[in-house]
């Protein structure tokens, strides 16, 4: 498929995943009650930290403004200027969808276009004012709808595979980021109650609350939560689950490659996944959670860059080289998919 279109598919789901994650995070933190014991100032800072917009926010509203929950929510939800806000990331998803509309089913397109038209219209603002939780839930549910509808109505071929790949890598990255943001704000001085509340919040942010208890993980504590969110092969938002998924999808995408086509992304993924597979939670504690997470996040970004070079934006000189190489053996290669 056309590289640019593959790029659109890849980014459509990355942006949509960001929208969904941010909506869930906002919902979880909005609903953290007094009895959970998380200090109010940290509750909202974690979100700014997660989106990487702490400085941005402080610059606009002042150093202490992060205690103002309404302001933080307004900023992270509605800021039209920034692509990392809920509004901005949904716009990114919808813009990408528009440029790859020809590869999507009408149902899948409508799922995302309806959400966008609603968010842009007056009804969403009214719901936001009246019933905050319902507002965020509507966003997350629309994203689930898109995943289900695209699964049920689109061809399971290349465009869809790139959509799934974008989503998997975005999930791996955002689970690591959620852990990092919580770790940054819950130092050693946190009380037991605070630590427990924080663990529960992290689980909720990753749709892992029920699964955690179902999986028989206990006792509840940072150690088990880390093990679950990093290393569990059955949790759809764990880091390793999404690397497994990415590995499977890359295999599918390379299945019909002509011989000799370099695919750096596969080795980058193997290194990252292999590195994590060798670890367990004690290793993580030994080298420090922050360091492990930083490494994971960086390696995931690096993987996305490699996918970019391999599939989405191969450099022109290289493509010309392929054509010239082909010209020497024309006919023999034409039937193998290189230039049919």
């Amino acid at each position: 498929m056309i590289s640019r279109v593959a790029e659109g598919c890849f980014w459509l789901t990355r942006y949509l995943e960001r929208t969904e994650t941010l909506a869930r995070l906002l919902d979880v933190h909005h609903a953290l009650h007094i009895d959970t014991g998380v200090p109010i100032q940290n509750r909202w800072r974690m979100l700014l930290e997660f989106t990487g917009r702490e400085d941005d926010f402080a610059e606009r509203y002042g150093e202490d403004a992060h205690c103002d929950g309404e302001l933080v929510q307004e900023f992270l939800t509605w800021d039209e200027e920034h692509p990392a806000s809920l509004y901005g990331s949904l716009r990114g998803a919808r813009e990408n969808a528009r440029t790859v509309r020809e590869t999507m089913s009408l149902e899948a397109w409508k799922a995302i276009n309806d959400l966008w038209l609603w968010l842009k219209g007056p009804d969403s603002r009214r719901l936001y004012q009246r019933e905050r939780g319902a507002f965020y839930e509507r966003v997350t549910r629309s994203a689930y709808l898109f995943h289900g509808v695209s699964f049920g109505t689109m061809l399971h071929d290349e465009p869809f595979t790139f959509m799934k790949l974008g989503r998997a890598l975005e999930r791996a990255g955002s689970t690591a980021r959620i852990l990092r943001a919580h770790a940054a704000l819950n130092g050693h001085e946190a009380s037991d109650a605070e630590a427990a509340a924080s663990c529960l919040a992290v689980l909720r942010c990753c749709c892992a609350y029920d699964p955690f208890f179902l999986s028989g993980m206990h006792p509840l504590g940072m150690r088990t939560v880390i093990r679950f969110l990093l290393f569990d092969h059955t949790l759809p938002r764990s880091v390793i689950y999404n690397l497994d998924e990415g590995r499977r999808l890359l295999f599918l995408l390379c299945q019909h490659d002509p011989i000799g086509l370099p695919r750096r992304s596969r080795s980058v993924l193997e290194r990252l996944r292999g590195g994590l597979m060798q670890m367990d939670v004690r290793d993580v504690e030994q080298q420090g959670l922050k360091k492990t997470l930083a490494w994971t996040i960086e390696a995931t970004d690096h993987l996305c860059d490699a996918i970019h070079d391999d599939f989405l934006a191969a450099p022109t000189p290289w493509l010309r080289h392929c054509v010239r190489a082909l010209a020497l053996t024309e006919g023999s290669l034409e039937n193998r998919g290189w230039a049919a």
Partner: protein, 511 residues
């Protein structure tokens, strides 16, 4: 009759997108929306005669529409608008820089109906015209017989802004220049179809024909049942035509649709056609030329391209060729075209054939190339470049319609009988300064079709753009895009000037 069943709840977007309607006059549900309908004087109304009786051949088709009351009609109209917006059936207006860039093309629920018996001669006339225009292009970019024999003046051709002398001697694959034509037709006060304008470069609008039909089936599923000709074939026919002209010796040709990108007002259509034909939708930057062959950048390296349905104008197609500043084109594309390694749909240089000042010579082309008499009439045209014509035009501006030859979309147009003195004076100056750029025609009283307006059903003027697709033979889509001037009294149907559209039915005659 009760309202047809709805297959869909109104979408969440409905409340904000519903067009403002006038304060509702209390009309009983089921009251005839056509009661009190008045055809315009001296104008052919396609539904009703001057006394307000339906044309006998259409009476049974119109009847069911009478049974939908105004409130129900309004509801269905809102439902249609909301569905277009949700489905992304929009055109983008980015230039104005205000409001939402995505607008829907206003859709009127009352269909436009043409009987099969009337349509057959239109169809033959269109095929004949496209054949002559194609022969003209082959000749102009070849031996130029028609110019040598003086049947079309050489200076009119060479001064045309669409003429591309560099294309002389280059034979497009299969000798086809005009794979897709959109020929604009109007009906005069006697109801006769006349050719108003030829569009043989990159005519747009066909996606609305297909989407209008889908919408019609959805909101009024019971009407016209079984007697309306299907339009759904179009993408298949276009793909077949592309296959037929592919200069390919290896297997299935790789065909693509080339778009300027999502900022183009017709972007929806480009994606729509690509989707329906199962082609890749590409931009200039997705293609490159190596060794006079065109390749696409794919996730598996370069892939050869054989046919390009391009929706980019000639000027921007190849920065090496015409506009070096073009960022939407493909450097080297025309070298590949000249080498015969890629087919372009439509051909390059077609603008000389649909130049409004060449239009008066088309009947002569039909006689010259085909040895036939034109089947369809056309509007008498004064060419301002000619001294006699210009003198007449300048003396009669208030009676005439003046058009700039290179403009489209209803821009650069003067409707004399409806223009202010200042507008007329301004055109007088422009014509005197650059006569080659203008032609003039008597005002045609475009036919009308009943149309929903804020104050009920009223007569509004329409035109028709049928599409002719040519590969190894020509095919005419039954019907086409009916555009309607929604502004009261207006003659201008373009979407940029307050136009809307209607579903167009070619209806089997009753036995």
């Amino acid at each position: 009759m009760t309202a047809p069943p709805l297959h869909d709840e109104p979408g969440p977007a409905e409340a904000e997108t519903a067009p403002e309607t006038a304060p509702e006059t209390p009309v009983a549900r089921g009251s005839d929306p056509f009661s009190g309908y008045q055809p315009l004087p001296d104008t052919y109304d396609e539904f009703f005669d001057a006394s307000g009786r339906p044309h006998p051949s259409l009476a049974s088709a119109i009847e069911p529409l009478r049974e939908i009351g105004r409130p129900e009609f309004r509801r269905l109209q809102r439902l249609a608008s909301s569905n277009f917006l949700r489905g992304g059936v929009t055109f983008s207006v980015y230039a104005t820089g205000q409001g939402d860039p995505d607008r829907i093309f206003p859709f009127d629920l009352i269909p436009r109906i043409v009987l099969r018996s009337e349509w057959e001669s239109v169809e033959r006339g269109l095929v004949q015209r496209v054949a002559a225009l194609n022969a003209f292009l082959r000749d102009v970019y070849g031996d130029q017989r028609i110019l040598h024999e003086g049947r079309v003046p050489r200076d009119m051709v060479e001064s045309s802004s669409g003429f591309r002398p560099a294309m002389r001697g280059i034979q497009p694959p299969g000798g086809v220049y005009i794979h897709v034509a959109g020929i604009d037709l109007v009906r005069d006060s006697d109801g006769r179809f006349l050719i108003l304008e030829d569009n043989v470069r990159t005519p747009s609008g066909v996606s609305y024909v297909l989407e209008n039909r889908v919408m019609m089936r959805r909101v009024l599923p019971e009407f016209g049942a079984g007697r309306v000709a299907s339009v759904e074939d179009y993408p298949t026919r276009l793909y077949e035509a592309m296959e037929a002209v592919a200069p390919t010796r290896h297997g299935e040709p790789h065909a693509v649709v080339l778009t300027p990108g999502p900022l183009n007002s017709a972007y929806f259509e480009h994606g729509f056609l690509a989707r329906r034909m199962g082609c890749d939708l590409v931009r200039g930057s997705d293609l490159f030329v190596e060794g006079d062959r065109v390749y696409a950048r794919t996730t598996r390296g370069p892939r050869r391209v054989d046919v390009i349905y391009r929706r980019i104008d000639d000027d921007f197609l190849d920065p090496e060729f015409l506009r070096p500043d073009s960022v939407i084109g493909v450097p080297g594309l025309l070298r590949a075209y000249a080498a015969g390694n890629v087919a372009l749909v439509n051909g390059v240089g077609n603008g000389v054939a649909d130049d409004k000042a060449i239009y008066p010579y088309v009947p002569e082309m039909i006689r010259f190339y085909l040895g036939e008499e034109p089947i369809l009439g056309q509007v008498h045209t004064y060419i301002c470049e000619r001294d006699d014509d210009r003198r007449y035009v300048l003396e009669n501006l208030e009676k005439l319609v003046v058009k700039a030859v290179g403009e489209a979309g209803g821009y650069g147009m003067l409707v004399g009988p409806r223009a202010s003195r200042r507008q007329i004076a301004s055109f007088r100056e422009q014509i005197a300064a650059a006569p080659r750029n203008y032609i003039a025609q008597p005002l045609v009283e475009l036919s009308t079709v009943p149309t929903w307006t804020r104050s009920g059903v009223e007569a509004r003027r329409v035109d028709l753009r049928p599409y002719v697709v040519t590969g190894d033979r020509s095919w005419v889509m039954p019907g086409g895009l009916t555009r309607v001037a929604l502004v009261k009294g207006s003659y201008v149907v373009n979407s940029s000037q307050g136009g809307g559209s209607k579903d167009t039915w070619v209806l089997e005659d009753e036995a």
